[in-house]
Amino acid sequence: MALFKLLVNGRNYEADVDPETPLLWVLRDHLGLVGTKYGCGIAQCGACTIHLDGEATRSCVLPVSAIGTAKVTTIEGLSSTGDHPVQLAWDEVDVPQCGYCQAGQIMTAASFLKHNTKPTEEEIEVAMSGNLCRCGTYHRIREAVKLASTKLK
């Protein structure tokens, strides 16, 4: 066990955990931030996607000891009032079915749109294909990413 200082969503946290503990479980079990989801544990489904210094990262395979001073952003901190362009687009398109994968989808999309503000459909598919949606909301995710790109400030 070791004490880790973490900056999550602009707030300082401390967690006394095994250094190998994936960030996912630190967030969920120790910090009470359960918006980041467990889906596979091997970086295959993307449900655990968070931002590490703004870049989409799979938290299920990221040991807490590897974070250092990097800033962590989770779905809870993507925007203070749930009005990030991607969140607004997701609501407008009414993307979620069961909704379990959507936090990861949104975090992937938000990071992607920072780098590519006017993506083509093909670029969206490439960017989003790492995130599984078991309900099959892919058409709406694609549409929502497109819509979000028009809402970027």
């Binding site: 980041t36 544990g41 809870e76 959507q102 936090a103």
Partner: protein, 714 residues
């Protein structure tokens, strides 16, 4: 306007809330009910057994509706309240939805399964809304001292039409609560619906999109322990010995316990438990046969030749029909075991206390969870409470209660509140799969290419009746025999979204294409001729509506431009399941000499569409699900052990693999039926039949992607 015949006044109960004012209307999902009793405070609501749900209208006009059925992504938590709100005539933005807990005295059929919730509750929900509306209308009329007939409602307001005076529901709610419950109420005509048939967003969107706790796996309570369970590594093994020394010495571990063939590691956090469980040294021994996929292929052959069959339907004289046939077509279709793989793995919270049990989590069948818990602990079911969370998918997996009972066992043994979590590997290898099945079809054609004889034998692993013997083309063929044989396997199976029909529909509709081709007829025309025949001269019972099936076929034909497109190969499929009808047309285009699935058209008849957004997505998602599993899913076994355990080896469809999907609904005023499943079954055949047209190659086995030349088609 339609008037309900003699609705029982006793099915409704209104109550005034002394403290807050407003109208509380209790209503019954059941038809029978005990005598009404006056309920005056919210506190006594919980104890009231005379009604089984309620809606409330607060003085500020906010309407709260309890939704009793578990939400698994089928959209019931949005659709149910829409129906109430429609008849209540209230603005949707003023409606609040609450998830009700399991309460078998107040509700019935609190199940997410069988695409049955809307069909089951449609009339009751409408009646509830209409009753409250009528009381508000009467309250308004009374206030103005005018006849009720001079008043109308509109978006949460009662309006006196002659004077133009208006009062909001919120203003009238307390007065309405003092009136007697009307003995009959008028329901709206379908043509007058303003909310039903429109787009309503998922009521949980605000929480889902900001990551607030919603799902079973998100549940946490101070003092709760975490547990993971090591189950036998293969089906057919049982526990022999456990060495838990190393696991027990790990930091954060509080208990290692054994029950049945399982070893549970209990501790203070998920990761500590996960690390410790990998240190268990367990020996297993053989309890029954350890089956491999190669064994299953041999067993299929044996079952197909079995004489010990269960006849499901027999019409006419099949042997004679085949003897006299001008042409006989025979084909076999096979599917593998597949995993449900909801993205939220199995998990459940249980707290077994000295005098009660608390269960919280994701379940499609809370009542079974309660009853089986009571049975396991030998206590009365009333001692068990079940709170349903939103589910991160289910697809039938959460109709099983094994994972609930595990949590109960562990909590009972360690005497603490416990949440059991399955890893993805546990979830995929832990059983309850869609059964592997093989079908053998035989069709007899006469000289004119008419289908005069039809045989279907379905054989499978723990597959029960793996046919739907009364489905089309039954009723359209004079001589028909449908039978099944089942192999009892140690590998556990269970309902998987659109149970049985998720593969049977592919097999039947792909075989139908083969028969049409042999008869040298257009596949759509061939089906329509059979349906006409079933209508004019039916053979035996017909349990599908011929006209509705024809209308979805026609809609799919019209929208897809069936047979009129150049450079596009189309495949057709139509299926009736869960009381809804869906036809699909798949389109394949040859690109650089390779077939590529570009589009799927869907035409659906589920009666009145409640939520246009939810309904459309059920069809789109059903098609993606049907396509994905037809293309890629394959769970194989070696010596009883599943050979795939996570998404790196068990492939699910991804965004870059989906075709365009276009959805159309038959517009009618028929009472609604479900949509959670019916769009999935027809997809496989629409795709395979299009691929045949494009390549001349018949696909008869799933997964398609593992068949020759079929890589990268979607």
């Amino acid at each position: 306007m339609s008037t309900l015949p003699n609705p029982s006044r006793r099915n409704f109960l209104k109550l005034a809330i002394a403290t807050s004012g407003g109208l509380f209307l209790g209503f019954n999902w059941n038809t029978a009910s005990a005598d009404t009793q006056a309920i005056l405070t919210e506190g006594t609501l919980a104890g009231a057994i005379d009604f089984n749900s309620y809606l409330s209208i607060a003085p500020n006009g906010i309407v709260t509706i309890f939704s009793p059925n578990p939400e698994v992504g089928q959209g019931i938590k949005t659709a149910f309240p829409m129906i109430v709100a429609e008849e209540l005539d209230v603005d949707w933005k003023n409606v609040n939805v609450m998830q009700a807990p399991l309460d078998t005295q107040k509700f019935e059929r609190q199940v997410a399964g069988g695409s049955g919730s809307i069909r089951h509750s449609w009339q009751r929900l409408r009646k509830a809304g209409a009753t409250a509306r009528q009381m508000l209308l009467e309250a308004g009329a009374k206030q103005w001292k005018v006849p009720v007939a001079e008043c109308k409602t509109e978006k949460g307001m009662v309006i006196h039409t002659t004077s133009g005076r208006k009062l909001s529901y919120g203003e009238l709610a307390s007065e309405a609560a003092k009136l007697s419950v009307p003995s009959d109420v008028k329901l709206k005509e379908v043509k007058d619906f303003q909310l039903i048939g429109q787009v309503a967003k998922n009521v949980d969107n605000p929480k889902i999109l900001t990551g607030q706790p919603l799902y079973g796996i998100d549940f946490y309570r101070e003092g709760m322990l975490f547990a993971m369970i090591k189950r036998p590594s293969a089906f057919g093994l049982k526990l022999k010995s456990v060495d838990s020394t190393a696991a027990k010495s790990m930091s954060g571990i509080t208990d290692v316990i054994t029950f049945k063939n399982n070893v549970a590691v209990v501790g203070k956090s998920t990761w500590q438990v996960k690390k410790a469980i990998d240190l268990l040294k367990i020996e297993y021994e053989k309890e029954s046969d350890l089956e491999s996929t190669t064994d299953h292929n041999r067993i299929f052959e044996e079952l197909l030749n079995s004489t010990n069959t269960t006849v499901r339907r027999k019409d006419g004289d099949v042997e004679m029909a085949f003897k006299n046939a001008a042409k006989v077509i025979k084909s076999e279709y096979q599917c593998p075991f597949i995993s449900h793989s909801p993205l939220e793995p199995m998990n459940f919270f249980a707290h077994v206390k000295p005098d009660s049990v608390e269960l919280i989590g994701s379940t499609q069948t809370p009542e079974a969870a309660r009853n089986e818990t009571a049975k396991l602990l030998n206590i009365a079911p009333e001692k068990v409470s079940v709170e349903m969370t939103r589910m991160g998918g289910g697809f039938g997996r959460r109709l099983k209660t094994d994972y609930v009972l595990e949590a109960v066992e562990v909590s009972n043994l360690v005497k603490a509140p416990v949440k059991v979590i399955w890893t993805r590997e546990d979830d995929m290898t832990g059983g309850s799969y869609r059964p592997a099945v093989r079908y053998r079809f035989e069709a007899a054609l006469d000289k004119q290419g008419n289908l005069v004889g039809y045989k279907l034998r379905g054989v499978g692993m723990n597959s029960g009746n793996c046919t739907r013997e009364d489905n089309f083309p039954s009723g359209a063929v004079e001589n028909l025999l449908i039978d099944t044989v089942e192999h009892k396997s140690p590998i556990t199976t269970g309902p998987w979204r659109a149970p049985i029909t998720n593969f049977l529909a592919f097999a039947e509709q792909a075989f139908m294409d083969e028969v049409a081709s042999a008869a040298k007829k257009d596949p759509v025309q061939f089906r329509l001729e059979l349906l006409d025949k079933a209508k004019k001269s039916p053979t035996g019972a017909i349990k599908y509506d011929i006209d509705r099936m024809k209308s979805v076929i026609q809609l799919a034909v019209d929208k897809s431009g069936w047979g009129k497109k150049k450079g596009v190969s189309q495949g057709f499929s139509v299926y009736f399941s869960h009381f809804s009808y869906v036809a699909q047309v798949g389109e394949v285009v040859m690109q650089k000499g390779k077939p590529v699935l570009t589009k799927i058209y869907a035409a659906a008849d589920c009666g009145v569409v409640i939520n246009k957004s939810g309904a459309r997505q059920q069809i789109m998602g059903g098609i993606v699900d049907g396509l994905g599993h037809a293309m890629y899913a394959n769970l194989t076994f070696k010596d009883g052990a599943p050979q795939q355990s996570n998404f790196n080896t068990y492939r699910l469809i991804r965004m870059n693999e989906i075709p365009e999907v276009e959805v159309h609904f038959v517009e009618n005023t028929i009472d609604p039926t479900g949509l959670g499943e019916p769009a999935l079954p027809p997809t496989g055949a629409a795709v395979a039949n299009a691929l045949f047209k494009a390549t001349g190659k018949r696909l008869r086995n799933q997964p398609f992607a593992e068949q020759e030349g079929m890589k990268g088609i979607s």
